[in-house]
Amino acid sequence: MLRLRPLLSSRKLSLSLSTTTTSSSSSSSSSSSSRFSNPNSSSTLDPSESTKFGKLADSWYPDTEKSKGSLKPPETLKPPPRNPLLEMNPYRISFLLSLLPPPPYSGLPSLDVGAGGGIASESLYNLGMDVTAVEPSLELCNLIKNRLSKIKVHNGPLETLPPPPSPYALTTVFELIEHLPPSSLPNFINNLTEVTGGLIVVSSIDKSLNSFVKCKLAPETIGIVPWGTHEYERFIDRRDVTKMFEEEGWECVKCNGMRLEGGLVGEVKFGWKGRGGVWEEGESGGNWIAGFRKKEEM
């Protein structure tokens, strides 16, 4: 399969990392003016992305309750377009559960970075965990608060999160890093490793021709996701992310590709519905999910 050269080569990454890690190691866990060690690095927030997703807040969840009881005749009988993230979520959760000790998880402190509409947060909350959701878009934060009043929601990028009393046992970063400015990725991963004491699970999209067609061209052209949701430039290979974590002293304990089996995601807009697919381990989609833990001191 033809694989395009990623924009950021691994060697450039390690060069930039080496300059930042030297400064951070000197002020590791002492209190500083800002919670995270690199206050002057590029912010992990791209404001255009957060406004773009904020606009989709109303259609994040298929809302069938709204029109019930209304006296006006229904404007349209077409069901609202389904968010493909809802279809992906079960596999992501089952992946991270395979890396955690067996249930119960009541009170397990967990952090959902880039929570969006709270799909993963809701699943973790239903499993009993004590979830904190981080989301820079205000509309999406309100959506999460309306649906799940019991979880803590922080409106803002990760670096503005106030320090937790103890590190989180689980951090999930689902479908987020392909929307961050690439130069801020090392800083972002650094921030993740500083707040987490247990497992970090990252899911994103590979950068290859396969993923360009399957995750960018096809869904956006036929209307499964709105046009402009993804940018190919920001897709990131799982090996590059693993390298970034290894610079922080974290290792990848498990990494799987994700693919949709049977049925098409959502409703194809020519009037033909294909639904009911199942996400499972597989390579051809370009999506991947990986779990990272701190390397054991020998």
């Binding site: 029109s67 019930k68 009881g69 209304s70 006296l71 006006k72 005749p73 229904p74 404007e75 349209t76 009988l77 077409k78 956006e220 052209t221 036929i222 209307g223 709105p226 046009w227 807009k269 009037g271």
Partner: protein
Amino acid sequence: MANKMGQISIVGGGVVGLTLLTRLARLLPSYTITLLDGSPKSAPLLSNSDTATQPTIRTYALNKASVETLSKCGLSIEESQRKGEYKSMQVWDSKTPSYLKFDVSDVGADTHSSLGVIVEDDYICGNLEKIASNLSNAKIVKGAQVKKVTSDSVSYSTPVDKTSSSSTSSSSTPNSLNSLDSDLIVGADGFNSTVRTSLNFPLTKISYGRTALISTVKADSDETVGTAWQRFFPGGPLALLPLWGGYYSIVWSTTNDHAEALAEASPSDFLSTVNECIGGGPTPIKFSDGSFLPPPLKSAKNLLDDLVGTMVNGISLINMNEKFGNSKRFEAPPMITELSSPRFRLPLNLQHVDTYHSSSVVLVGDAAHSVHPMAGQGLNLGIADVECLVKCIESSVTTGGAVDDEYALERYSNERRKEVLKMMGGIHALHHVFKEENDLVLTGRALGMSLINMSGTAKRSLARAAMGEP
């Protein structure tokens, strides 16, 4: 006619059952025709000239053939003043600018005085029951609960005659079980027919997922406008049918949730929704936005949408100008001011039995077929069933055959299945045409309606099909 004695049982006391009762009683004076009606009360007897009493809730649209059949029974609809007559019919929808307007002049004003009549169920049933009571061989059993139906007999129970009307405990009243050995059993007991299910007639049933909300309303004047209006929404049509004295009948076939909301709303909310919806005129066509398309394709789609939209809106404007072709002016319905009856709901299904007869049992009316009410043909099909069955039985009996002659019943079944399937297919196709919202169907529908509206020939054939004429 033959002097052979026998027994015919009809199950179901609606219009179809009563029509069949009177026709068969006249045709076969030596037979005893018994009609078993589940409802304990008789329909009120409403006089022809009584226009003061408010219209009762259940009404039907009758075509010319049905009116003729009823006059053969002895009930003259033409002389009655208790009916709604419409001379024109207007059909439009909520998503396109086109409309369709028929008039009596389209089918020949000299031969027809109206396109159709709307008559109450109570009026027809009450008068037919009275006519049947004057026929010595016709018997009506009220409150008969059919327990068992076989191909030779019907078993039913009736509550024992209550002499004191003050007693209200019905659970302790013993029922009497009767059995009628019949030469012919007719199932005229509606869409949930017991006769059909007892004998396991194979049934094809497709649920429309819609409910028809029916009610009688009054407009702001005491004169009823002689036009039938029907506006299609994505869920289904809202029909305003004229009665008399300023009264109209509303039949709104819509999604189950919406019908429930309408039925539970306050009368003023309900009426304002009805006025808002039926009062809306043709709206410029709106295509789906291409926001899911990439920008270059999106601008192409927008351009195409503008061109096609302009053409469709333009043709509709031409249509509204009466100078071109045979189009008539768009008429706005009156303002509805009063809800005059409770709101009644019916589930809508497409049903059809595979065969209308099985040994000595035959099905007529809604027991055999159920169509969407949007074309007002349900009862017309049922009454035509009765006419055909009587004709087939007559042809058998006059030539010395039996009442339940196998060939006669099969001829009935074949002929009616053919006609009913034609009508059912047409109505089901219309349901789909007005349900779809995608751009191609909207364009086709808008252009089609406008062009048909401008063509006298097309309108004549459509109107004649709706009126049941060849």
